[in-house]
């Protein structure tokens, strides 16, 4: 519990900066909708019929001429990508920073098991991601409220719930990388997140890549899918949760077996 709280405290500034930047950006973009609304009506029909481009962004499923559709297509991209990058940054730093910053000799000589250290850090990551999602959700709700039009609340919560799991999965992969690296694998973590995002765009356009929906967590956290189908993809969410558990187990196994540098 001490280590869990310690990690939460060390990361609180980073959480606030990321969550407020993304949240305020989303809030501002929602407020911009009014000035775009007139032209949105004209272009929404055109956008919905642009083949691969529309499919990639989900504009063939929801109408961006409505505030909810605009949120599901435009705002959710910023939320998902911003959240994914935050999770990648956080997960990739949590364990490797100890060896990179030469604090591993302080931490690993305390009466804590390596499993205990990793579980405390993972729990801190999960809480930070949850708080990120909560802050951005609050900003989004504030934006809708200012616009005087609330979205389908169940769908909004479904999307943010799926986005939380998506970020947790990206965080878990990066946490595993962090557990086996001596220096923070920030570049690899950010690259992996962008790759997953691009893979999600591509698999919606290229039928041969459909199998990739089991690889990229951005697929099950797609707001356009959730708002158009009024449901989240439960089987893929289950797979995502399983992936998180698998990556955590791999991190525990590998970290327990490896040498810790000073």
């Amino acid at each position: 519990m001490v280590l869990f709280l310690h990690e939460c405290k060390l990361n609180r500034k980073s959480l606030l900066v990321w969550a407020l930047c993304v949240g305020v950006l989303c809030f501002a973009c929602l407020l911009l909708y009014d000035s775009l609304a007139d032209s949105m009506g004209d272009v929404s029909e055109m956008f919905s019929d642009m083949g691969a481009f529309s499919a990639a962004l989900g504009m063939d499923k929801v109408n961006i001429g409505t505030l909810e559709g605009y949120y599901a297509v435009e705002i959710a991209i910023m939320l998902s990508l911003g959240g994914g990058l935050f999770a990648a940054m956080t997960g990739s730093a949590l364990v490797a920073k100890e060896e990179e910053g030469h604090t591993s000799e302080f931490l690993n000589t305390m009466p804590l098991s390596r499993t205990g250290i990793l579980l405390a850090k993972y729990a801190a990551m999960a809480l930070l991601i949850f708080l990120f999602e909560l802050i951005t959700l609050f900003c989004v709700l504030a934006g809708f409220s200012c616009m005087g039009e609330m979205p389908h609340m169940a769908n909004l919560l479904r999307y943010h719930g799926a986005a939380f799991l998506m970020q947790l999965e990206i965080g878990s992969i990066c946490f595993l990388l962090s557990a086996i690296c001596r220096k923070k694998p920030t570049g690899a973590a950010l690259g992996l997140t962008i790759f997953f995002y691009m893979l999600d765009l591509l698999l919606r356009v290229v039928p041969a890549l459909e199998f990739a929906k089991y690889i990229t967590p951005f697929y099950f956290a797609n707001a356009a899918d959730i708002f158009s189908e009024n449901a989240a993809n439960i089987p893929l969410l289950g797979t995502g949760a399983g992936d998180c558990a698998t990556f955590l187990a791999a991190a525990l196994l590998l970290y327990g077996r490896r040498d810790i540098a000073g």
Partner: protein, 300 residues
């Protein structure tokens, strides 16, 4: 209850093709102040990290305070205070928060002892770690290592970076802890420290133990430094090395039978003779250069 604080048998650890330590065996009794001497890269820190469970080793067995490492690691670490050679903490935290964090991670309230140690070492608790020099970080590390009154203190080059006054204060604290029953395992380059404070010492070179003995015995040897005045050369005797011609005489080191040396010196009829024991530093260099491979368990 075991009377041994540290037991190492046949410890071998390598880093791929790079050498680590090879077949290290030594025993440190409870209540001892044990010096661990060796040059950079000799394997001191590797041995210590194996003791602390940070490194997995290929062969050997380590027991600390009667418990085998790996089996009861948390319990072992609960009774150890460790000070690394390259001290670093979380840069954004203040010194007092780091000290509190160390106590909290141990699940102990060490406020009174921490305050006493900070007072003795003049630790400025309000400063951030990023603002502290190496010496000041070392002082914070000493408090973290000692505040929970551990049964075993493992200190890796503890005085590097400390000014002479703080070194004195540190050794006072160390001796107080030792008199209160703590065992101290002290890795150091500074031979005067080892001679002054340690009861036993081990010398490690190229990953192998060269010698383990009392500091008193380590300082004693058949090796003698000899200076002769009024002669042009050293006597022709086996055991004579490092012959140097000096103004008006010659100096050399000799290891062997003293009667033979005296007879050989008398035959040269020198004006003056100076025979002295080598310093611990010179002994230390001798161990490094020649190396006496030891086999089996070496008990201090």
């Amino acid at each position: 209850m075991s009377e041994k604080a540290i037991e190492i048998y046949g410890l071998t650890k390598s880093y791929g093709k790079k050498r680590g330590v090879r077949d290290i065996s030594l025993v440190v009794e409870k209540g001892d102040v044990f010096g661990f001497l060796g040059p950079n890269g000799a394997g001191k820190s590797t041995t210590i990290r194996c003791l602390l469970g940070m490194l997995h080793f290929e062969a050997g067995e380590i027991s600390i305070l009667g418990r085998r490492t790996g089996e009861a690691q948390r319990e072992i670490l609960r009774n150890i205070g460790y000070m690394p050679s390259e001290v670093m903490f979380y840069p954004s935290m203040t010194a007092e928060k780091v000290i509190k964090l160390a106590a909290d991670l141990r699940g102990m309230d060490c406020g009174t002892e921490a305050a006493r140690l900070c007072d003795r070492l003049l630790v400025d608790g309000k400063k951030r770690i990023s603002e502290l020099s190496l010496g000041n970080r070392k002082k914070v590390s000493i408090v973290c290592a000692m505040q929970h009154k551990p049964a075993l203190l493992i200190l890796d080059e503890p005085t590097s970076g400390l000014d002479p006054l703080m070194q004195e204060a540190f050794f006072e604290l160390l001796m107080e802890a030792n008199h209160a029953g703590a065992t101290c395992f002290l890795s150091s380059h500074v031979l005067t420290e080892v001679r002054q404070y340690c009861k036993h010492a081990a010398v490690i070179r190229d990953g192998s133990l060269v010698r383990v003995d009392t500091v008193e015995s380590l300082s004693k040897s058949t090796l003698r430094k000899v200076k002769l005045s009024g002669v042009s050369g050293a006597p022709a005797l086996s055991g004579i090395e490092e012959v140097r011609k000096e103004q008006g005489g010659v100096s050399f080191s000799y290891s062997g039978d003293m009667q033979k040396l005296l007879t050989a010196i008398l035959a040269l009829s020198p004006k003056d003779v100076l025979i002295e024991e080598p310093s611990l530093e010179e002994m230390f260099m001798q161990f490094y250069e020649k190396g006496e491979e030891k086999n089996g368990v070496v008990s201090a």
